[in-house]
Symmetry: C2
Subunit: 110 residues, 2 copies
């Protein structure tokens, strides 16, 4: 499944709890329960955050091979490439704006 777009990514990352989850997942995969305890919110609340993260493509779920009650969540860093590209684009356009401004200064100094 491809990245659903910038919008979902940004909306998912905008919540502090969800960003905390991403922070945890980038170190290693975690169980749903671990994530709930780490963020000090209820299991149901975490479950919903995980669902939005999953829908945004930032995270994927898998059952534990030994105990399929537990669900392991892991990060999908590819989901951030679109966002990074957008930020890079901003940089590029900004650089152009800056150089145009400098050129303008040069011209008016003459």
């Amino acid at each position: 499944m491809s990245t659903p777009g910038l919008d979902g990514t940004l909306a998912a990352l905008a919540d502090p709890h969800r960003r905390r989850v991403v922070d945890l997942l980038r170190e290693r995969p975690h169980r749903a329960g671990e994530l709930a305890q780490a963020t000090r919110i209820s299991f149901p609340a975490m479950s919903r955050h995980l669902r939005t993260l999953r829908k945004s493509g930032l995270v994927e779920e898998a059952r534990d091979e030994l105990d399929s009650r537990v669900r392991i969540y892991r990060l999908r860093p590819e989901a951030m490439t679109e966002l990074k590209a957008w930020l890079a684009e901003t940089d590029a356009l900004w650089a152009r704006q800056l150089s145009a401004f400098k050129a303008h200064l040069q011209k008016s100094r003459k």
Copy 2:
């Protein structure tokens, strides 16, 4: 005024209208009115979006020198550095995770 943090930045960028504004502003500064017309939302709505963008530090306002009724908005790309740093950090940790995984494979292959 320094960047208020990732949270504000991401929340501000999560809205499509606001991101459209940023897209416009990265080409050149615009008047508030122009932005409203470009996004096809009401002036009051745009005014509020501009306020959240301003509070997030992504945008700054200035009065037009010739006609101080009009307000010019311009991008503050510095406001994105924290976000870029956060994304880079994710990359770094992910790379470490990947190499750890490869090391693990090496070991188990022996």
